[in-house]
């Protein structure tokens, strides 16, 4: 059972956008790991996606700003490394929003591996839904994405790499 404070905090944090993919919240992305009401002190644990992701600091600052603004005081925000973030932590609504935004959501581990080894027709084009897609590069516009193109609609797109 969540306390009223915890419930409130989750709602506030669910409005904090990821700075690089502003349609998805840091909660949907699985960055907020826990929110605990410790006798009136709110303890929030967050975890980085990739170690070097430049958004990590921005996310921490936005989380602090949002909690301040909502006056959920006092609170402590802590970065934890374990369990390390994986794409399984992205929520179902998060995956749907990624797709609508034009980013192919992470596939199953085995499909992901085949796709990144260069096997074609593994990842669905987020633009037209065709499976006739091809990897351009394992590394894309941010650390979490790979670069693909669709051979049907010819649209280049980002694929959110599976990280297990």
């Amino acid at each position: 059972m969540l306390t009223a404070l915890e419930q409130n905090a989750w709602e506030v944090l669910n409005l904090v956008e990821d700075p690089e993919i502003p349609v998805i919240s840091v909660v949907e992305l699985g960055i907020v790991r826990s929110v605990i009401d410790d006798n009136g002190t709110l303890k929030v644990n967050i975890t980085p996606t990739y170690s070097g992701c430049p958004a990590t600091q921005v996310i921490e600052d936005s989380v602090i700003e949002a909690l301040n603004k909502a006056q959920l005081l006092p609170f402590e925000v802590k970065t934890v490394l374990s369990p390390s973030w994986s794409t399984d932590m992205i929520s179902e609504s998060g995956r749907q929003k990624l797709k609508e935004y034009g980013i192919a959501p992470p596939a199953d581990h085995s499909v992901d591996k085949m796709a990144l080894m260069g096997e074609e027709r593994q990842i669905k084009c987020p633009n037209c839904g065709s499976m006739d897609t091809q990897m351009v590069s394992q590394f894309g516009s941010t650390p979490c994405k790979a670069h693909f193109k669709c051979k049907d609609c010819l649209e280049p797109f980002d694929y959110f790499k599976c990280l297990k």
Binding site: P48, P83, S84, F139, P143
Partner: protein, 245 residues
């Protein structure tokens, strides 16, 4: 030496490897042979620099002197750095960069697999996080070794040259420094040799033969290159202490 001092030195060694190689790769930014590989190298650089930050945070905790990760990156001199010499070798041409990355990644991957089960919790969680990223690095550098080795006559010649050239920097990883004994695994060489050989075979390249190996990085005896790297990397925080942006 206390256990905690040794563990701090291990954290610095692992952090320095990541920081210096990450810095080297960042020098490719805007200079990659094609846009996708420019992005790949800078992505890998970012991962490594992020990993360095985690190790330096651990070193700071163990030191207990109130320093933060920036202190270890920016306020130490050549003699204090414990990175493997291979990480500071110049980028050279694309084949040289790939050869360096390939040898390093193959070792890094095996090392992190072991550290992901380490008895020290902090080291273990950093390794578990890093291992996921290094899995991608290792795949990328191996693929390029194969692509260039089993490519045109010119790419093959350049790749073989690079593989031979940097070979004598690969032995150091398997010669334990005093501070790492009992903390880092000392049995990775055989597996590394066999994994490297498998990729070189696929790339139709010849594995260099085992011979004399360069060493000294872990104990602060660096090549002349490290001083230049630090001069560029540390200039700003040294000239403008506590600058923010």
């Amino acid at each position: 030496m206390s256990d905690s001092k040794n563990l701090m030195d291990v954290a610095l060694h692992l952090g320095d490897n990541a920081l210096i190689l990450g810095h080297r790769l960042s020098e490719w930014c805007g200079h990659g042979p094609v846009l996708e590989q420019d992005i790949a190298m800078t992505n890998i650089a970012l991962d490594l620099i992020g990993q360095a930050k985690m190790y330096f945070d651990l070193a700071a905790e163990l030191e207990g002197a109130g320093n933060d990760h920036d202190h270890f990156a920016y306020k130490r001199d050549v003699l204090d750095f414990k990175n493997l010499l291979i990480t500071e070798t110049p980028n050279g041409d694309y084949a040289d960069t790939i050869a360096r990355q390939f040898y390093f990644d193959q070792w890094h991957y095996l090392l992190l697999q072991e550290l992901a089960n380490h008895e020290n919790e902090r080291l273990r969680e950093i390794a578990q996080k890093s291992l996921k990223e290094v899995t991608y690095h290792q795949r990328w550098s191996s693929e390029w070794v194969v692509r260039l080795g089993d490519g045109t006559n010119e790419s093959k010649e350049k790749m073989q040259h690079a593989i031979d050239d940097i070979w004598y920097y690969t032995g150091e990883a398997f010669m334990p420094a005093d501070f790492e004994k009992g903390i880092l695994p000392d049995n990775l060489k055989e597996q590394w040799m066999s994994n490297v050989k498998a990729v070189l075979d696929e790339a139709t390249l010849t594995m260099p033969s085992d011979e004399w190996m360069q060493e000294g990085g872990k104990t602060g005896s660096h090549t002349e290159h490290l001083g230049y790297i630090l001069a560029e990397m540390q200039f700003l925080p040294r000239a403008y202490p506590d600058a923010t942006w």
